[in-house]
């Protein structure tokens, strides 16, 4: 099987916590997401893909792209049966493995913070708690044992995250993420 492209017309891109519908394709240019609202295309060449993860989102599935240039792109709207053709296409066309994300379901608020490019990763016992794209942060302040992150609110998000505070054990345990 050697297809030139695969297409998902009911995909959506995650933008500051909201989902924006559009068409996601993979072809010789790499990842192409067309937003019919703006008419704009997001194009990311596979040479800029650092890691790609297949993720589970509340009974549905998604894709998370970590780019060598730093940002993360996240898409939703896939079925379980999409994994096989997507991973096959990535392997054959781009020689890239689609990995499955190991997500924490423990429900704990303690763990460790690390950085993947311009993304903060909060891990709970070596499993992923959540990923925070640093470009969503509008302001960051640090106090004693504390880091406060404020976010740009998405206009269309019915529930928008405005602020997140971390407790940091000792000073110097974490650098300023910005």
């Amino acid at each position: 099987m050697n297809l030139d492209s695969i297409e998902f017309s009911n995909a959506s891109q995650e933008v500051t916590g909201s989902l924006v519908s559009g068409k996601l394709s993979f072809n010789n240019r790499g990842l192409v997401f067309r937003n019919p609202g703006t008419g704009k295309n997001l194009v990311v060449a596979p040479t800029d893909w650092e890691d790609v993860f297949w993720i589970r989102i509340a009974g549905a599935f998604g894709l998370k792209f970590f780019l060598k240039s730093g940002p993360m792109h996240q898409f939703a709207g896939f079925k379980e049966t999409d994994f096989e053709p997507i991973s096959k296409f990535f392997r054959n066309s781009y020689q890239i493995d689609l990995k499955e994300e190991d997500k924490s379901l423990k429900g704990w608020n303690w763990g460790s913070v690390k950085f993947r490019g311009k993304v903060l990763e909060f891990n709970v016992e070596r499993q992923v708690g959540f990923h925070l794209p640093l470009n969503y942060v509008s302001q960051c302040t640090t106090g004693k044992n504390e880091a406060v992150l404020e976010f740009h609110a998405h206009e269309d998000a019915s529930v928008a995250l405005m602020e997140m505070r971390f407790y940091i054990p000792q000073e110097g345990a974490e650098g300023d993420p910005l």
């Binding site: 995650e14 916590g17 909201s18 989902l19 993720i55 589970r56 989102i57 509340a58 009974g59 549905a60 996240q74 939703a76 997500k103 379901l105 423990k106 429900g107 704990w108 608020n109 303690w110 763990g111 460790s112 913070v113 909060f122 016992e125 708690g129 959540f130 990923h131 925070l132 794209p133 969503y136 044992n145 504390e146 609110a153 998000a157 019915s158 529930v159 928008a160 995250l161 405005m162 602020e163 997140m164 505070r165 971390f166 407790y167 940091i168 054990p169 345990a173 974490e174």
Partner: protein
Amino acid sequence: GKEEVAGPRLKKANVAYRNINNFPTDDEVKHLQIYVDKRAETLILPLFGEPVPFHISIIKSVAQSVEGDYTYLRINFLHPGAPVMGGQEKHVFSHPEAQFLKELTFRSSNTKEPGELAPASSNLTNTFRLVKELQKKYKTREQEEREHEG
């Protein structure tokens, strides 16, 4: 979950879900709103496009406020140094090197959009009420277990 939280007595940390198949697929979760899972005693919060679980036992308090056209919901989590409710003692945790999520604030509009039955902020208002109920239920049960153990 073998992680231990040292308190008045050593106690294993509660685990929200042991298996992905138990993770709720209700509309609120799918639509990236807040969802309170009474069965699993867990609050599911939308963080950067993904539903993330937080067990009720680590939630210290919730606060709700209305400012202009918006409702705000603040969720405070237990973390080292946080005072225990109603007492002078502080929470002590057996993993001092860990970083903790301490607080989250969400915002929703109080304006009802055309075609909607309720304003977006009803999700926050319901969450506030349901978390309070769940906390009460959880604390009562904990108390009973403690008394039972003597």
